[in-house]
């Protein structure tokens, strides 16, 4: 699981470089994410624009990472591709996350 991390002020921006988060990679994704967010920050933004496919294990891993952050430090998602967006919408998990269509303006030049 290839994750590209940028620290931008109070934000950790994590770009998923793999094209899928599935049952074969979900555990690794979760572990890598937990290492990355061990560094304190106000916000954590996960750029998923490279991820064309996410299955229920991948979704569970993203939820687990958000829960690990605690209620005060929400996981923000950005750039959901159509299939990924469909999985979030059907499971109603789109109501749980802050979802940006594209990277927030203050992060666009990051990395």
């Amino acid at each position: 699981m290839n994750l590209d991390t940028t620290h931008e002020g109070e934000i950790i921006l994590i770009r998923v470089m793999d094209d899928r988060i599935d049952a074969a990679s979900a555990i690794q994704f979760k572990e890598r994410m937990r290492e990355i967010v061990a560094v304190p920050s106000l916000r954590v933004v996960l750029d998923m624009s490279n991820v064309g496919f996410l299955d229920s294990s991948g979704l569970g891993a993203v939820v687990a990472v958000m829960k690990a952050l605690g209620p005060l430090r929400r996981l923000e998602l950005s750039g959901l591709t159509p299939t990924v967006e469909k999985v979030f919408r059907l499971t109603r998990m789109d109501s749980v996350f802050t979802i940006h269509k594209t990277l927030p303006a203050d992060l666009r030049r990051a990395g």
Binding site: P82, V87, T91
Partner: protein
């Protein structure tokens, strides 16, 4: 490893894969490149990949939880449906029935579900789902409705 992928006639495809999550990933990639799914709408393609992934993940995770084996996937294209037939020689489903797949409870932060989405997605996105045990075989079939039947 995926093997024996055949796409003749063009309205059918058959593939046999092993029982690891990486086998599922490779098998999905092969199936999603088959002529049988060419020309489907983007929406139909994503539904197909999601349902198939969840069904195959379940076989790996549950049917083959205690031993390894083969999974056979057959696709047929009817006038209005893509039909899937999945065969494995793993453990039977509990109560000889596929799980109901209740919608995940989106409640308080601490109770957010980290799993249990799989059967909900299958039940939501597929139609005419049937399961039966025949000897040492699990036979699961379901359809995905084609929105651009042509």
């Amino acid at each position: 490893m995926a093997e024996r992928l055949s796409f003749t006639p063009p309205d059918q495809a058959r593939i046999v894969i092993g029982s690891t999550m990486l086998d599922v990933r490779a098998g999905l990639a092969d199936l999603m490149a088959c002529p049988i799914v060419q020309g489907l709408s983007a929406d139909c393609l994503s539904t197909t990949e999601i349902v198939l992934a969840e069904a195959l993940n379940n076989v790996v995770e549950h049917a083959y939880a205690r031993f390894a084996g083969e999974i056979e996937v057959e696709l047929r294209r009817d006038s209005d449906q893509l039909r899937f037939h999945i065969k494995d020689k793993g453990l039977p489903m509990p109560d000889a029935e596929p799980p109901a797949g209740y919608p995940p409870a989106v409640g308080s932060f601490d109770d957010l579900p980290e799993g249990g989405f799989g059967w909900f997605l299958i039940r939501t996105l597929s139609c005419d789902l049937a399961y039966r045990r025949e000897g040492d075989l699990n036979l699961l079939s379901f359809g995905v409705v084609l929105d651009n039947a042509a």
